[in-house]
């Protein structure tokens, strides 16, 4: 195992070096960094050219220049080695720019990746379980459609319809009757198709979802919910309890008493916390919120440990998930409370969904206002990135699940009388996750690279912008810095994928 890891790292470094040479040559040949100066008519043109040649070592042949660059880049690996990724054509050190770009890109892709994985796998599995049903066909078509949509198209469409549309609508946030009826019917059709079952059950589900959605939309209209939203003292506890119940049904099944007890205890603590925290939450900062999530998880784990009887593992999982999701409800409620003062802020002026940038300049406000602002700026790019990778994951999850469901051990599990939930969640789902891990890992690297287009559309200054402006200004070093990060991330994640694969599937052994 150790020799595998060491050998793999050695080979990866060699690959990286070779690829960096190819890339360096390509970038150097693609554009001449002096282009803009040749065209300039400033009096000290020659001095500027000489200066830039000196900064970028343009007097040396490309391989020599590459060696110098490699030497500087290699020092990034050594701690306190003095990281040197060269300078831009303006003589700024690239490593400083890179640090800023990496952090803002991570901000952008983290949520998108997590959401895409969770939603993609869920939808893929539902699709597989209802193979050749209307749901399956609709999801399949939707994922093909999203898959065929270039990201720039998605970005532009989101900007025009979601951002402008929502902002205009928010001036007078009223659902007309046509909207209420239409949306309720869509919700009804969706839920009855997803939940499925015999005709009677479908009808009940359909009626219930139409009614609930209709009432909700109507209620939102009369109370002008979108201008001053909140979950309130009734809906928030109900939501927390619903999350608890969902975790129980998903992980342990309806007949597991210990699971109900665990989730129940966690939910009671959280509902208590919800009422207790109401007054203090506005004073919390980012660390306070993180602490709250940790505490909620710990409460859940403790509940699971003491109430789990013989199934401590699943009970602890239920507890932790219920705790974190419930705390999520509490935090979301607090954000909703902030919403009104956010949209009425003079800098926002009632148009909360921005289409460019990563923050509103000169926005005054506490942690909640500031982070709402960040969320709103991340909203559209995140949706755009999410939908694109979501499409792929849905296809893979569906395919993997179908292949697993055709296996003999699934037949065995059914034959020995296990409930359908156990067969799907324990036997099929876990095994179908194995191939998905590899794809997810490979995709995370690609997602950072793929953000070039999305970042450009939303004028977001992350890694993609670094690359783009570097290439546009014929500036080789930022492009190379971008490449190094992408390549290292890709190689690392591929490596992790292989390790994970061999850990998950005992038939695969690394050697």
């Amino acid at each position: 195992m150790l020799s595998f890891v060491l050998r793999r790292i050695g080979v990866s470094i060699l690959i990286l070096i070779a690829a960096s040479f190819i890339m360096y040559t390509l970038v150097s040949l693609a554009k001449d960094p002096l282009t803009d100066l040749y065209a300039s008519n400033s009096p000290n043109k020659d001095a500027l050219i000489a200066q830039r040649i000196e900064w970028l070592h343009l007097d040396q042949p490309i391989p020599v220049r590459w060696l110098g660059w490699l030497g500087g880049a290699a020092r990034c690996v050594i701690p306190f080695g003095g990281c040197d990724l060269g300078v831009t054509i303006q003589n700024q050190p690239v490593s400083v720019l890179l640090g800023r770009a990496v952090s803002s890109t991570l901000q952008l892709v983290t949520a998108a990746t997590i959401l895409a994985i969770v939603l993609g796998i869920t939808v893929g599995i539902i699709s597989a379980l209802r193979q050749y049903s209307a749901v399956d066909y609709s999801f399949t078509f939707a994922s093909f459609f999203l898959y065929s949509l270039p990201s720039f198209l998605m970005g532009v469409i989101l900007k025009v319809f979601v951002a402008l549309g929502f902002n205009n609508w928010l001036r007078d946030p009223v659902f007309t009757w046509a909207w209420i009826i239409g949306l309720s019917l869509i919700a009804g059709i969706f839920w009855q198709a997803v939940i499925g079952g015999p005709r009677n059950r479908r009808l009940v589900v359909f009626a219930a979802s139409v009614l609930v959605t209709g009432l909700m939309l109507y209620g939102m209209t009369v109370t002008e919910w979108f201008l001053d939203p909140s979950l309130g003292p009734i809906i928030a506890p109900l939501l927390i309890a619903a999350f608890g119940a969902a975790m129980v049904l998903l992980i342990a099944g309806a007949r597991a008493r210990y699971a109900w007890r665990t989730a129940g205890a966690t939910v009671i603590v959280l509902i208590g916390a919800f009422f207790l925290l109401q007054r203090f939450l506005p004073l919390f900062g980012v660390w306070g919120v993180i602490l709250l999530f940790c505490l909620a998880g710990i409460v859940g784990a403790v509940a699971g440990f003491f109430l789990g009887e013989f199934d401590k593992g699943p009970a602890i999982r239920i507890g932790i998930l219920t705790g974190i999701l419930g705390m999520g409800v509490i935090i979301v409620d607090q954000y909703l409370h902030t919403w009104n003062s956010y949209i009425n802020n003079p800098r926002i002026n009632g148009r909360p969904i921005p289409t460019v940038g990563s923050e509103t300049p000169n926005l005054q406000g506490d942690f909640w206002i500031q982070s709402t602002d960040t969320f709103m700026h991340l909203l559209l790019p995140t949706i755009s990135l999410m939908l694109i990778s979501f499409a792929g994951y849905t296809r893979y999850a569906r395919g993997g699940m179908l292949e697993t469901l055709n296996q003999d051990y699934i037949r065995t599990a059914r034959a020995k009388g296990l409930p359908e939930r156990t067969v799907v969640v324990r036997h099929a789902f876990r095994n179908s996750l194995i191939p998905i891990t590899t794809i997810v890992a490979a995709d995370v690297g690609a997602l950072i690279g793929g953000a070039i287009i999305t970042e450009r559309i939303f004028a977001f200054s992350g890694m993609g912008a670094l690359f783009n402006s570097g290439l546009n200004n014929s500036d080789p070093n930022p492009v190379m810095a971008y490449f190094v990060v992408i390549a290292v991330v890709a190689i690392t994640f591929n490596f992790l994928a292989d390790l994970a694969y061999s850990a998950l599937d005992p038939r695969v052994r690394v050697k």
């Binding site: 690829a19 093909f144 459609f145 065929s148 270039p150 198209l153 690279g449 492009v479 890709a490």
Partner: protein, 379 residues
């Protein structure tokens, strides 16, 4: 790729009932190629997609002309015309008429129909050239690596790793910014040189497993040369992987080309491509939305159609994920013959795979409640 061909046939009923055997064309001893073709034809979305694709691209080519042969459309994509009717599209569907400028005119008066058709042709042929070059290099590299193994394999696969490390959009942007001005053909050829890695890996894996099979050994014993074994014996068996991955690569290539053109690294003005048209008219969205919608619609349609074709091909070559559920007799394939059943009724809920292997729907993934609705014929 091994396709289980009728080998694992099971009677579609439980022991108590009379076995009812359904024979489809799959079992009549057709050749592999015919079977795959049949499965592809039966995949309706894929079939419709390929027809539509040919139709759309053919229409575009006939409108703009090709290889210097002029098309039937009156305007050229570069000619500046007086703006009529504020550049609005003149296309009317009922009664159908194209009018002078069916897709409108852009802000300097160029006929947008000519531009979109020209862009469509450019995008289509760029994606085929990328796909063709990538498939060729990928097959050669993968075949040699997988067949010879050893140090040849190591060297070629490390080479593949080196290219794979550079994301295609990055290398595309760099290459495009260098050669994009030289025209779409040069751009496509250069992009093809960096897109082959996925195919190479798949073909190699396929060759590694196929080279151990008996028919390869037989060919070797009979004195066949390496080249003959690779191209005559192994490659035809690996065609499934090649065709499917090339189709999917072509679908990815259209996105790559349009994205690069959108970013300004791909096709350059005055030449047009669908991505370039969107990038030029993004700002005009509020005032002249049709300038945005026509190219956008064609990008999505082309890419969607190719993806559907790829999906259909994958199902045709590798039907492992296919489980066709015939709940009614009329849903059976036309050539199905009910052989040894007591009646011509196929029991409801019989699950049939395309390979002819049929089994009980107890194995299918439906909820138990749904099965209780089925009649008791098979119980």
């Amino acid at each position: 790729m091994t396709i289980p061909m009728g080998a694992n046939f099971e009677a579609p009923s439980e022991p108590a009932a009379e076995p009812t055997k359904v024979v489809t064309a799959d079992e009549k001893g057709l050749s592999q190629g015919r079977l795959i073709f049949k499965r592809f034809i039966q995949h309706k979305p894929a079939l419709i997609s390929i027809l539509l694709f040919v139709l759309i691209v053919g229409f575009a080519i006939s409108a703009t002309g090709i290889f210097g042969i002029p098309g039937w459309w009156q305007w050229n994509y570069t000619s500046l015309l007086p703006i009529q009717n504020n550049g609005m599209p003149t296309l009317t569907l009922w009664p159908f008429s194209l009018g002078d400028h069916p897709f409108g005119q852009n802000n300097v008066g160029k006929d947008y129909f000519a531009m979109v058709m020209r862009g469509l042709v450019n995008s289509a042929y760029i994606m085929f050239i990328i796909g063709g070059i990538a498939a060729f290099i990928g097959v050669v590299v993968g075949a040699i690596a997988g067949y010879y193994r050893g140090w040849v394999d190591s060297v070629l696969m490390r080479l593949t790793d080196i290219v794979i490390v550079i994301p295609i959009i990055v290398v595309g942007a760099v290459v495009g910014s260098a050669v994009g001005g030289l025209g779409p053909l040069v751009l496509a050829i250069f992009l093809g040189f960096f897109a082959w890695t996925g195919i190479a890996r798949l073909v190699r894996a396929e060759f590694l497993s196929l080279r151990e099979r008996e028919f390869v050994e037989a060919a070797r014993v009979a004195g066949a040369s390496d080249a003959r074994i690779i191209f005559k014996h192994i490659l035809p068996n690996a065609m499934g992987v090649v065709i499917v991955s090339t189709t999917l690569l072509i679908a990815a290539a259209i996105i790559l080309e349009t994205s690069l053109s959108f970013l300004g690294y791909g096709v350059r003005s005055p030449e047009v491509s669908l991505g370039l048209l969107i990038s030029q008219n993004e700002a005009a969205f509020q005032t002249r939305p049709w300038l945005f919608w026509w190219p956008a619609a064609f990008i999505v349609i082309l890419s969607l159609l190719v993806n559907f074709v790829g999906d259909g091909l994958r199902d045709a070559f590798d039907p492992r994920q296919k489980r066709i559920r015939f709940s009614k007799v009329k849903d059976l394939p036309k050539d199905a013959v009910v052989e040894s059943g007591l009646s011509a009724d196929v029991p409801e809920g019989v699950v049939m795979t395309r390979t002819g292997a049929a089994s009980n729907s107890g194995v299918s993934s439906e909820e138990p409640d749904e099965q209780s609705f089925e009649p008791e014929t098979r119980r």
